[in-house]
Amino acid sequence: MSRSTPLSNRIENWLPRLVLAPSLLVVLVAVYLFICWTGWISLSSSMIVPKYDFVGLNQYVRLWSTPRWHTAVFNLFVFSTLFLALTTGLGLLMAILLDQKIRVEGTLRAIFLYPMALSFIVTGTAWKWILNPALGVQKVVNDLGWTSFVFDWIAQPTFAIYCVVIAAVWQSTGFAMAIFLAGLRGIDNSVIKAAQIEGASLPRIYRTIVVPMLRPAFLSVIVLLSYIAIKSFDLILALTNTGPGSATEMPSTFMYSATFRRDQMGVGAASAMMMLMTVAAIIVPYLYSELKESRDGH
């Protein structure tokens, strides 16, 4: 068979594989091989350098008995919930408002999208100043004459995490809005007209007809935002540097400091595995159900 196929045909068959091979190799090594390697390290007694022995789940036990890890997990929970809810909600609201045929839409969309182009380091640094009581919002309001105004969340252990939420929401809302706006643009106008003729009010039309039609947009937004939430690292370092104290510690910052600062590579690897499992536990079933539904033609 292969002997009778002309050479050009064989090249045509092999070219795509050849072109894809390097990136496939990089992904295999840099992602999957290192996931396995991290998994192995998490079962070893590695401290400052990798050690390839086996101590069972010891490192996981140590991880879960570290109070700092508990703070990190709790913070991640608070942060992701608020971040996802606020970004999705505000993004959807802004998209719906923009969809009402505002003339300056092009400009507004660009303005809302700009934050996404910034690195989290820039966002973090900017908001560090904005939220700093001696430099930012509090000082401006005080200078305007309201001298008793206090806004020092960033310095308070219980509220600092909400500052991270504010900065992250500011950065990502425009992105969520852009995806929802694209979804809204794809909706046939006559569907809305039909509902209007039947007497439905605009809020009701959006709630019962338009928003349910945006399911695919919700899928993209939620998947991408969850990923941003769990990997958030640079924002924390730039904005609060996990402080005050360790009040804004997150699993990602915990993993980094355990592995590279505190010479506890095993614990760091265990925390990395915990994060991987969390992401998998959230994203895989969601993706699965959504993709299955879309195959069924909903």
Binding site: K193, A194, A195, M213
Partner: protein, 366 residues
């Protein structure tokens, strides 16, 4: 009672006048078709009746009541869209119920209305499906069901069949006609398809560039079109418009048509008033002859035309014969195999049904 009166309605988008003083009035149970090419303002007019577009000038009255400032839901209308406009996340049942739910109709009544509509449109087995699981024809049926349960004074259809394939379009056309006969509700129906207009309408309004060219029952529009534009738009193949000269002999109008390579044709017996004949005597006019007014074996008294046939196009039930007359190509509908290409033929013309048009204004001469 559900009459519709459109009284000098205008529509402006900025400086662009899309509708120019449109006046149409129809009675209870009428089936009005707005017919015209794409972009002539049909949908705009329909949306103005529905309340989805503002009325820039004039008045629209439904059942005698001025509706200019009423919102769509208070106009007692239901509308069916070209794209069906079903709610994709709801089942067929929920689609049909939606309006009733909003109006606070009780559950028992809703179920009854859904059942009646589903029976009427033979779609009881589809009630629990989503729109994406339906074919185009089924979707259009659901859209009609949704309109029916409103029991409106006025149904509005915006090109409901143009997304369907040819066979289904004919079936659904019949179904809409049957529905109209059954419900007797007044209907306004927009289409660019003249056959749909002819088959469905009790009144046709032919539109061009935001102006109603002709408003009458379909047969009158076909037989006595108001101008050359209407004559050419309605009917397929369209009416032959042949330049000719009008002469008056003994008080009778005679149209004189040049035919290359044959004797000049002189057609008498054209229905035109003596005043008009006198006015146009000796001047150039346009003669409108439908293809089926030609025949091969006319009565002895019939007016005859000697021509040279260029091309014949068999269509099955009959054949289209093409020849030159008065400087234009003319189409005649004749029985199959009655004439042959590139041979002379003598065709009779039923001149009593000929229509004359002014050569400059292109308006009909009566």
């Amino acid at each position: 009672m559900s009459t519709l009166e459109i009284d000098r309605a205008r529509k402006l988008y900025g400086d662009l006048e899309v509708l120019k003083e449109v006046s149409i009035s129809i009675g209870t149970g009428d089936f009005l078709v707005l017919l015209g090419p794409s972009g002539c303002g049909k949908s705009t007019l329909l949306n103005m009746i529905a309340g989805l577009e503002e009325i820039s000038g004039g008045e629209i009255r439904i059942a005698g009541k001025v509706v200019n400032d009423l919102s769509p839901k208070d106009r007692d209308i239901a509308m069916v869209f070209q794209s069906y406009a079903l709610y994709p996340t709801m089942t067929v049942r929920q689609n049909i119920e939606f309006g009733m739910k909003i109006r606070g109709v009780s559950r028992a009544e809703r179920d009854k209305a859904v059942k009646t509509a589903a029976d009427l449109l033979q779609m009881t087995h589809l009630l629990d499906r989503k729109p994406s699981q339906l074919s185009g024809g089924q979707r259009q049926r659901v859209a009609m069901g949704r309109a029916i349960v409103r029991q409106p004074k006025l149904f509005l259809f915006d090109e409901p069949l143009s997304n369907l394939d040819a066979k289904l379009r004919v079936d659904m056309r019949t179904e809409i006609k049957r529905l109209h006969a059954r419900l007797g509700t007044t209907i306004v129906y927009v289409t660019h398809d003249q056959i749909e207009a002819m088959t469905l309408a009790t009144r046709v309004a032919v539109m061009k560039d935001g102006v109603v060219q002709h408003l009458d029952d379909p047969q009158s529009v076909y037989d006595r079109p108001a101008n050359v534009y209407v004559a050419k738009f309605v009917g397929s193949p369209s009416m032959n418009i042949i330049p000719a000269k009008l002469e008056v002999k003994d008080g009778n109008a005679i149209a004189i048509i040049d035919i290359p390579g044959a004797a000049t044709a002189q057609l008498a017996g054209i229905p035109v008033s003596s005043q008009a004949a006198a006015k146009y005597a000796g001047r150039g006019i346009l003669v409108g002859i439908r293809p089926e007014l030609f025949s091969v074996t006319g009565a002895a008294s019939a007016q005859k035309l000697s021509v040279n046939i260029d091309v014949v196009e068999p269509t099955g039930p009959d054949t289209l014969a093409l020849f030159q007359a008065g400087g234009v190509e003319v189409t005649a509908r004749v029985p199959p195999r009655a004439v042959a290409a590139r041979t002379p033929a003598t065709l009779a013309v039923d001149t009593a049904k000929i229509v004359l048009f002014d050569a400059e204004t292109e308006q009909r001469i009566d």
